[in-house]
């Protein structure tokens, strides 16, 4: 034991003492003339007064032990009401465990209890027993932030939870709510920052089923929403297995029930998470369906130990490579070439025949900008490199080209290429296509007469008003109004008949085919794996010029040809509105979150400002609700479903982009309430604990001694034992008064008055 002396004075006392000292100093000149004994007595009285004013204290010093402080967070989220195989709720189990170990805990640490959901709230031990689940799911960002801001310097954090984190803090890919702080958008970023601000390690205690039922679950399927044709991409899956230690797990990636690849894992521990990534090649265009299938490798595997998760990927073209071959310079060529060239999604190669073999040349060849017609390169060598081949008013026979070239073009279409044939006086019969291999590809049969192109104004009639290609406006009515208000076209082609399977989109208002059907002006058909469009006139430039007369038509021409390319290359039908894949069974955590992706025509994320999104949620029983929707990042919209009823739920999203119908998608999932078979999000809790340097344990398997051993040891520190206020002794006043009396008597006695 030791002693210490200190001053207990505040600012007021220091000011008073200072004033006393100052007053003494000011009187010093007169005091100097006094006899020494008198001056000494007065100085002693003043010094004693200043000392008393400074409030001296004396204390004893003792060595003592200080226990580490732990913050105990008890998850109060809705998932904690689940009753597992123990007969009581998870929250009650966590509370009971803590209460039953209170003595051991408090003997080793200073325990600060918090209820954790949308934030962290201090609890007493008495409050803990009566804690009830809250509707708000645990939000780690808010909880950790509250703990940090509580001002308690904790040595360790203990989290009792089933791992049902707020959706934003979980994995975003695949709509899974497992895992923590990984690619979860703004919420995850905030949660990660709050977690980092926790200076103490975090131990997680999983509160869930005690019995490890054998199970296999594909908990995650990460895949891109869309990929480019012919590219290679990766898809990955996470599979959680429990209760099957010692057996082999087989994970397969299937496309249309065809196994693309598979991997096998040896299960070593009672609970394990396996991750696998598979490379995939995007060989087909459009929506491709895939599925991860996980099962135990041995043949006797129980049916329940199989799991799968399906997902879809849209395969699109990165750039549409277009070959445009025109028979002669024309306004159609000039405008359409500029239109195609101006679209950054088009890679255009075009050739136009500037001079025919019979044309006269007034100057030597080196004064002409002409190049030899690269027919072989166009029809043979480079043809497979293109997605769309445009033939405009090109007289094939004029160049005495081999018929094999047209056979090649036909093969190009049958293998998935697109062909657009644009009319003109030499585009069809006169151009030498009648009876050629290419005629078989056309949506129409050609007439035998070579003068099949007839000049004359006409307004084409819409023949297939519901065809997606013709939807040029918000509604079919407005679209039809636009079609009807277009300027007239000039010149059309006579055809013999429309081939079976072809669709006439626009027809001449009066003329008929030889077989008596409305004469096609625009017709489409599929041939093999490719698409063909025929436009029987080369005067659509009139629509562009007509846009100068009517602002409503100003963008019509561009939209028409842009949609034509999209239709022919297959991207018009590709969905632009899409829900992320959902697990077969949604985890019973509220809110359930669905991610909706919306793309523009070039598959770029759509800004919410330009989007009108309507989401209809049909609950079990058929009632409809409007769920909360917010944009978590450009083009990605979180649909949050709360107060879920047990059963099958359907969610339908309808999007309008820039005022136009853009697309819709629907998702369906089964939600099961707080029953005893809810999974415990061990992986999420493990991630959380490992990130903060802590450990994870199932609550029913916690080794309390080991957990307490992880706490820092109690530290010895010197503290104040007892203290005595010297200044409060009344004798000081008597002492000062005695000194002053002594001084007075001395002056009286010696005559120093």
């Amino acid at each position: 034991m030791g002693f210490g002396l200190a001053l207990d004075s505040g600012s007021l006392e220091w000011a008073a003492a200072g004033a006393a000292a100052l007053g003494y100093a000011l009187l010093w000149p007169s005091l100097r003339r006094l006899p020494r004994p008198v001056a000494a007595l007065r100085a002693a009285a003043a010094a004693l007064l200043v000392l008393v004013l400074l409030k001296p204290v004396v204390h004893t010093l003792e060595q003592r032990s200080v226990k580490p402080r732990i913050a105990v967070l008890v998850d109060q989220g809705p998932g904690m009401q689940a009753v597992d195989d123990t007969g009581i709720s998870r929250l009650s189990r966590a509370a009971r465990w803590l209460v039953s170990h209170r003595a051991a805990l408090e003997s080793r640490a200073e325990v600060n209890l918090f209820a954790a959901s949308g934030g962290a709230r201090r609890l007493s031990w008495e409050d803990l027993a009566g804690l009830r689940p809250s509707p708000g799911v645990l939000e780690p960002a808010a909880v950790f932030s509250d703990v940090v801001n509580s001002g308690l310097p904790v040595s360790r954090v203990w989290l009792f939870s089933d791992g049902a984190f707020a959706p934003g803090a979980a994995l975003s890919g695949g709509g899974s709510t497992h895992g923590a702080f990984k690619d979860g958008g703004p919420r995850a970023a905030a949660g990660g920052a709050a977690l980092d601000s926790l200076s103490a390690p975090l131990d997680a205690f999983g509160v869930g089923p005690q019995r490890e039922l054998p199970s296999v679950a594909v908990t995650e399927a990460d895949s891109p929403d869309f990929v480019f044709l012919h590219s290679r991409f990766a898809v990955s899956a996470a599979v959680e297995v429990s209760g099957v230690a010692g057996r082999e797990l087989r994970l397969r990636l299937l496309q249309d029930e065809r196994t693309l690849s598979e991997k096998t894992f040896r299960v070593e521990r009672p609970f394990e998470v396996f991750r696998a990534t598979f490379p995939v090649s995007a060989d087909g265009l459009g929506r491709q369906s895939f599925r991860f299938a996980a099962s135990l490798a041995d043949r006797k595997a129980e049916k329940s130990l199989k799991a799968s998760r399906a997902f879809r990927i849209e395969v699109i073209r990165q750039k549409y490579r277009i070959m445009y071959l025109a028979g002669r310079p024309s306004m159609e060529y000039s405008h359409l070439r500029a239109q195609l060239k101006g679209d950054p999604n088009h890679e255009l190669v075009s050739f136009v025949i500037l001079r025919n073999p019979e044309d006269f040349s007034p100057v030597p060849d080196n004064e002409l900008s002409l190049i030899p017609f690269p027919a072989t390169e166009i029809f043979v060598d480079t043809l497979p490199q293109f997605d769309l081949f445009i033939l405009e008013n090109f007289a094939f026979h004029q160049f005495q080209l081999p018929a094999a070239y047209l056979e090649n073009l036909k093969r190009f279409v049958s293998r998935g290429g697109a062909l657009l044939v644009i009319g003109g006086s030499q585009a069809f019969t006169k151009g030498g296509y009648r009876g050629s291999p290419l005629e078989e590809v056309f949506p129409v049969a050609l007439v035998p007469q070579s003068d099949d192109f007839i000049p004359g104004l006409f307004k084409p009639a819409v023949a297939a008003p519901k065809h997606p290609f013709l939807q040029m406006a918000d509604t079919p009515e407005v679209s039809l109004g636009l079609w009807n208000s277009l300027p007239a076209l000039d010149g059309y082609t006579r055809f013999s008949e429309v081939r079976p399977g072809a669709t006439v989109l626009l027809a001449h208002p009066a003329e008929k085919t030889a077989s008596g059907a409305p004469l096609p002006v625009v017709a489409v058909r599929e041939f093999g794996r490719g698409k063909v469009m025929l436009v029987g006139t080369d005067s659509t430039w009139r629509w562009k010029l007509g846009g100068g007369l009517d602002w409503k038509l100003s963008s019509f021409y561009g939209k028409f040809w842009s949609r034509a390319v999209q239709y022919l290359t297959g991207s018009l039908e590709l969905p632009k509105v899409k829900f992320s894949p959902l697990p077969d069974r949604m985890p019973a955590r509220e809110p359930a979150v669905l991610a909706l992706h919306v793309f523009d025509e070039h598959f770029r994320p759509v800004s919410g400002a330009e989007l009108d999104l309507r989401v209809v949620w049909t609950v079990p029983g058929g009632a409809q609700r409007s769920p909360a929707v917010f944009e978590s990042e450009p083009g990605v919209f979180q649909v949050e479903l709360s107060r879920l009823a047990e059963g099958t739920h359907r969610v339908r999203a309808i999007a309008r982009y820039r005022g136009q119908p853009w697309g819709e998608d629907s998702a369906e999932f089964r939600w099961e309430g707080g029953r005893g078979d809810l999974t415990l999000n061990r992986r999420g809790l493990k991630d959380l604990a490992s990130r903060r340097g802590g450990k994870y344990s199932d609550l029913h398997q916690v080794d309390l001694n080991a957990a307490l051993a992880a706490l820092p040891p109690s530290r010895r520190e010197q503290g104040v034992g007892s203290r005595r206020n010297l200044w409060s002794w009344p004798g000081w006043l008597w002492l000062i008064a005695g000194l002053l009396l002594w001084e007075w008597l001395l002056r009286r006695r010696r005559g120093w008055l």
Binding site: S334, P362, S369, G424, G546
Partner: protein, 246 residues
């Protein structure tokens, strides 16, 4: 004789206006109060040359329209020429010309006066500033694709050498107005016997040939746009330009 020819051409206009041409190239010409057609038969000469030399199929008749005509927006190629300043455009006419040019129309303006600083030239500059105030009339560089749309043009021809370059107005990445000051059309004008009406000074027949080639390139530019600027043509064109001819 020229007056007679003009009268015949004017008489034919109503019939021309109602005719349809299918996919043929149509020579459109702006008609205004005043001498809007200094060389009445010259379009036929140009179109004949176009037909003989290129694969373009043309309508034999031209179509003359006013800027207020309903037909304006069905004629994508227009010539505007004169020796004197045309009347100032009304607000409506200027608006229609703006709409025409910004929706895909092409205008070739040819100063037929053959002198620098002509009233026609002043009218053109003032009018274009009013029609397209956001763009400027600028000289076309020698690398402009117009000079290689068919012939490789190294020199600017015309009846009179007023300027060594063409000028133009760009809109949406394309030159929508081309302005020539050397009376290109005057170099084509012939008398009824087939002889050229005017000397080309100072370059003579070579200058006339340059004018014919440039005229055709202007038409081909309207019909093919920037086609000859495509990369596939460049090695051939550069080889020919390097050959030093003509």
């Amino acid at each position: 004789m020229r007056k007679l020819f003009l009268a015949a051409a004017l008489a034919a206009l109503p019939a021309v206006a109602s005719a349809q041409y299918g996919d043929l190239f149509v020579w459109g010409q702006v008609r205004y109060t005043g001498a809007w057609d200094p060389y009445p038969g010259v379009h036929a000469e140009v179109l004949k040359f176009l037909n003989e030399v290129t694969s373009v199929l043309e309508a034999p008749e031209r179509r003359a329209v006013t800027l207020q005509s309903p037909e304006l927006f069905s004629i994508p190629f227009l010539v505007l020429t004169g020796k004197q300043a045309p009347p100032t455009l009304s607000e409506e006419e200027a608006g229609r010309l703006r709409d025409y040019l910004t929706s895909g129309g092409f205008l070739w303006i040819s100063d037929a006066s053959g002198v620098a600083g002509s009233p026609f030239d002043a009218w053109v500059r003032k009018t274009l500033r009013g029609v397209l105030p956001d763009t400027d009339l600028r000289p076309l560089g020698s690398d402009h694709v117009l000079f290689r749309t068919f012939f490789l043009i190294r020199r600017i021809g015309g009846r009179a050498m007023v300027s060594g370059s063409l000028e133009g107005v760009d809109w949406g990445g394309k030159t929508v107005v081309v302005y020539s000051r050397n009376d290109l059309l005057g170099a084509w004008a012939k008398d009824p016997l087939g002889g050229y009406l005017y000397e080309c000074v100072p370059g003579g027949e070579a200058q006339r040939m340059d004018a014919r080639k440039l005229t055709l390139n202007i038409l081909m530019y309207a019909l093919t746009g920037s086609y000859k600027a495509d990369a596939v043509h460049q090695p051939f064109i550069l080889d020919k330009l390097r050959s030093g001819l003509p």
